[in-house]
């Protein structure tokens, strides 16, 4: 099981790519979030980081499957 995570906003800069493909498996959004926070500690400093699964805001308890479309959407401040 592998995922393609689409990156938005500053998560592109923090992770250094516009998509991220972790090698590990994650059963829930929360597990993925923990992996991301551990791999890229700067993400923690966003304080809010929306994870969308199949174009829907996903709470941490949502289960993941390998066909899901996952996106990381951080807050954006510019105007």
């Amino acid at each position: 099981m592998s995922y393609t995570v689409l990156l938005f906003g500053v998560t592109k800069d923090i992770i250094g790519s516009s998509v991220y493909c972790p090698n590990d498996e994650f059963y829930t959004v929360g597990h993925l979030r923990e992996h991301l926070y551990q791999s890229f500690p700067l993400l923690q400093k966003l304080n809010s980081l929306m994870i969308a699964v199949n174009m829907n805001y996903a709470e941490d308890h949502i289960m993941l499957s390998s066909t899901d479309e996952i996106a990381l959407i951080p807050p954006v401040s510019g105007g």
Binding site: N47, M50, V76, G79
Partner: protein, 364 residues
Amino acid sequence: MDFNRERYNRQVLLKDFGEQAQLKLLNSSVLVIGAGGLGVPVLQYLTGMGVGKIGVMDHDTISENNLHRQVLYATDEIGSSKARVAVERLKRLNPDVEFLCFNEQLTVNNALLIISLFDVIVDCTDNFQTRYLINDACVILNKPFVYGAIHQYEGQVSVFNYQGGATYRCLFPAAPENGVVADCNANGVLGVLPGIIGCYQANEVVKVIAGIGEVLTNKLLTIDTLNNKQSVFKFQPKQENQNITQLRSDDYKTLCSSTLMSITPLELAQKLALNEALQLIDVREQYELVYCEIESAVHIPLREIRMRVGELDPMNPVVLICHHGIRSRIACEELLSKGFTTVYNLEGGIDRWAREVDNSLQLY
């Protein structure tokens, strides 16, 4: 009501718009907070289309490095007030519009009064403090607000607090720590990006007022100008974010540090020594507790925190603890999203606590 039929002729002709929608625009009032990159196109098109009363709010003056994207202004106006120059210029575009010029910053002292004067608010600001202030004031006053924000080549648009819909806090419960998400001044921005996003914001304002089309409520529109990819993400309103009854007294200046704060083991030890009222919550699994734990901590595993949030007092500080400080941060966000005011994450978790404060504990 009579109106200038020649000026609005092309909109009155438009299918599903007509005189009725035009009259709704002419009878409406909109406050545009920020007259910079996003505010300029919003102001230009709302003025052109004939919103009856427009508030223009910006405390800033025009700089040369604004002009690549703030195309309402002129080089010979550098140093002048953005709000004043904008109003002067927009009056010439459409003298039917009544303008209110607010050459000042939105603060906790003026926000409720000023926002209460308008039907719809447009968030064209460039910082998180004002965005959260706008959100909270609009929730308190029950006003819809149209959000836009930009980052390098990307933009976001949404309509918050519209007919009971989701708010900005439902999407992003807490602001990032200072400096993580830099603004346009630090990151740079392509001149035309705020043009695109601001036009989308103006379009949503018209939909909200005129009652046409589908409003972007409970939806976040993201636009990437480099590849023209657009996405619409759906999200849900959370009841706790509707329960705001007053603005923060700190003027949202310490927004970031007062919401999700990190605390080092040494700092925590000091607070405990001073008997500060802290709720220590250990979010590890049961089997981890056998290795080591902090005595006064209550045990609520991460996966139960959502259900057991009622056991905690949201008005008093909470310190969240796990093995290395990762799971506890997720718990922090969960509590912040439930309206907790002061939430600390123990940096490095009990592992670092054991190394720096209590050597008697067993590492694992």
